[in-house]
């Protein structure tokens, strides 16, 4: 299993290194955003998954890192003490300091109260930002330029990609090593039973503050990488939907397993990148995915995969793979039916359609290269029918799998 993990990691890193030759520029651009989202989610995962502190305001530390980096870019022009490749260090420093301050106050409480304090602090910063024009640049934000350094121009996308890749992989390695240190182990103790930690002689408030600060530091690095990528920072990076997205991404990937948040962040960023061009209701799909993952795979995607590999023999795995293929196929049918219905209804309810419809006149709707009449039974039967067939097939597959398991037990 250890060798297996190592092999997967090596292949993954090799693929990432070769990516600029494998994909188009627009995909590479998406890959940069995926890496940043992965690192941001890993920073959140340390706090939420390992130390059990659910922060609803991690956009604040991401944003602080982003703005600090953009100011540093303008101040140093990418020269001297802070050449372009080292700019994320500014994000690290400012993220850590803001994390120490915010962590000191928020870790005085736990659970819901902790979450509320982090939310309040982030909203405070977000509300304040438009009024501090010198720092946050108002509506327009602050822009800058990546300057050449160390013989690189940082003008091409692939150079930006490699810079982001090196920082992201380096930080994930550091997070991994951190999880093995005494402080990293004590984070588990905080999550599991802070009360007992106090009776073992630990200063749980100081521990919580430190772990919060380390998490904020890596969030700040992710923010700085985003500024480097966009050559700008705008106060929208402080918005609550950034804080929400990192929570959802991490849980979809699996917040308690080491690589879970990174996979969740990358996957959901990719999903958004693809679907936001295809449909207006992509956020609805993101929400549906989150609800489904939480309902049927509460350990998250990576957590579920690990669990399946851990509790099964090779023969069992082959069996599971067969069941899984059938399950995925039936779910795909249901998903197609569901997507068809959502898209059809979205078009039916859209203001464009409303403008042309009326007085008993219901024009046809184009969807998936066919035209459908909303007053005919056909599109409704098609969508709902496929959805129902898919669900029914899934239930049959599940029942058979359960029967097979019972027979073998």
């Amino acid at each position: 299993m250890k060798i297996g993990t190592l092999a997967i990691l090596t292949i993954g890193v090799a693929l990432l290194l070769a990516l600029p030759w494998l994909v188009s520029d627009s995909m590479l651009n998406a890959a940069v955003q995926m890496l940043i989202a992965a690192l941001f989610a890993m920073a959140f995962g340390l706090l939420c998954g390992r130390a059990g502190m659910l922060s609803f305001g991690h956009a604040a530390y991401f944003g602080v890192g982003a703005f600090a980096a953009v100011h540093a870019m303008n101040a140093f022009n990418g020269e001297g003490l802070l050449p372009t490749p080292l700019l994320p260090l500014v994000g690290a420093g400012t993220g850590m300091i803001s994390g120490l301050i915010a962590g000191y106050f928020s870790t005085k409480r736990t659970g819901v109260y902790f979450a509320m304090i982090t939310l309040a602090l982030a909203e405070l910063l977000h509300a304040l930002a438009p009024h501090l024009k010198a720092v946050f640049g108002g509506e327009a934000g602050i822009s800058s330029f990546r300057m050449p350094a160390w013989g690189f121009t940082f003008g091409s996308l692939s150079e930006v990609y490699y810079l982001t890749l090196i920082w992201t992989l380096g930080c994930i390695l550091l997070l991994y090593l951190f999880s093995k240190t005494p402080l990293g182990r004590l984070a588990l103790g905080l999550r599991e039973n802070a009360h007992r930690m106090r009776f073992l002689g630990y200063n749980t408030h100081a521990l919580g503050t430190l772990i919060f600060a380390v998490s904020a530091m890596f969030a700040g690095i992710a923010g700085a990488l985003q500024s480097l990528n966009l050559e700008a920072a705008n106060y929208v990076v402080l918005e609550s939907h950034i804080s929400t997205a990192v929570v959802l991404n991490s849980f979809i990937g699996g917040v308690r397993v080491f690589f879970g948040p990174a996979i969740g962040g990358a996957l959901m960023t990719f999903f958004g990148y693809i679907t936001s061009d295809l449909t207006r209701v992509w956020l609805l799909y993101q929400g549906i995915i989150f609800v489904l993952v939480m309902m049927f795979m509460p350990r998250g995607i990576v957590g579920e995969v690990i669990e399946r590999f851990r509790h099964s023999s090779l023969r069992g795995l082959a069996q599971t793979a067969g069941t899984m293929a059938l399950r995925v196929a039936s779910l795909a049918i249901a998903a197609f039916g569901g997507v068809f219905m959502i898209e059809f209804i979205q078009r039916f309810l859209s203001s464009d359609y409303r403008a042309t419809a009326g007085n008993g006149n219901w024009p046809d709707i184009a969807l998936f290269s066919y035209v459908w009449s909303p007053v005919s039974v056909l599109p409704w039967a098609f969508g709902i029918g496929l959805f129902a067939i898919g669900i029914a097939l899934t239930m049959i597959v599940n029942r058979r799998a359960a029967a097979a398991q019972e027979a073998s037990a």
Binding site: L177, R185, G189, E192, R196, R198, Y202, A206
Partner: protein
């Protein structure tokens, strides 16, 4: 045996109107095994909470090694050499048994804010964790999740974690509750062994354990210590 390591002097504790501990006076001698017995609701657990820093007494002094610890925080009391177990099992359920003990042991070696060393390569810590595992008979369960163990195994782990900080004074709150006779016998022997050279204050309902283990016994009724004596002196009393 006249050296007092832990003393309660006129300790009162009220929660609003309810007076749980009234005028409690107790001297625990260095090196003795001291049991507290009494009916349900007498305030035995509250007494432990007061000694370990969970609650501050409403009035009175609690003296550990000549220092008043009344009102100190649990972590501070622990660092002064007093460790306790809990009546309701209080472990780290979602991590392995080994991790539970390692978390408990690291504090003694001042490994709280260390982020430049690997926890798995701390030789002294690992050695002590191994010794503890052997002592509490959980070596084979080292890599099981603490939450997946049986109740009595969790109780053993609870004792192991209490021992981890190498305390001078150990407070055990009903360590045998829910154990079988065989487990009770083993744990009784274990407690005898681990408290060698330490001071023990124990709350226990199993009278055979109390009488075989304790050097002295105090009786707590309605928040007041009404008698203290050796097992021989206490035996005829209707406790």
């Amino acid at each position: 045996m006249t050296d007092t390591i832990l003393a309660l002097q006129d300790v009162h504790k009220s929660f609003g109107e309810a007076k749980i501990i009234q005028n409690a006076n107790l001297d625990v001698h260095r090196g003795e095994r001291h049991a507290i017995i009494g009916p349900n609701g007498a305030g035995k657990s509250t007494l432990f909470h007061l000694c370990s820093g969970q609650f501050a007494p409403t009035s009175g002094k609690i003296v550990l090694n000549g220092k008043n610890i009344a009102g100190l925080k649990p972590a501070e009391v622990n660092r002064l050499g007093l460790a306790r177990s809990f009546q309701i099992t209080n472990i780290f359920p979602g991590v392995t048994v080994l991790e539970n003990l390692r978390l408990a042991v690291m504090r003694k070696h001042n490994l709280q804010f260390v982020f430049w060393r690997s926890a798995a390569r701390l030789k002294k810590v690992n050695q002590e964790v191994d010794d503890l595992l052997t002592k509490i008979r959980l070596t084979e369960r080292a890599h099981s999740l603490a939450s997946e163990m049986s109740y009595s195994e969790q109780r053993s782990l609870e004792i192991g974690m209490t021992l981890a900080s190498d305390p001078q004074v150990i407070l055990l709150d009903e360590p045998m509750a829910g154990m079988s006779q065989e487990e009770t016998d083993y744990t009784s022997g274990l407690i005898r062994e681990i408290t060698d050279g330490r001071t023990l204050l124990i709350v226990e309902h199993d009278m055979s354990v109390v009488f075989s283990l304790a050097h002295r016994i105090s009786v707590l009724v309605y928040g007041e210590i009404i008698a203290t004596g050796t097992p021989e002196e206490s035996a005829p009393m209707p406790a």
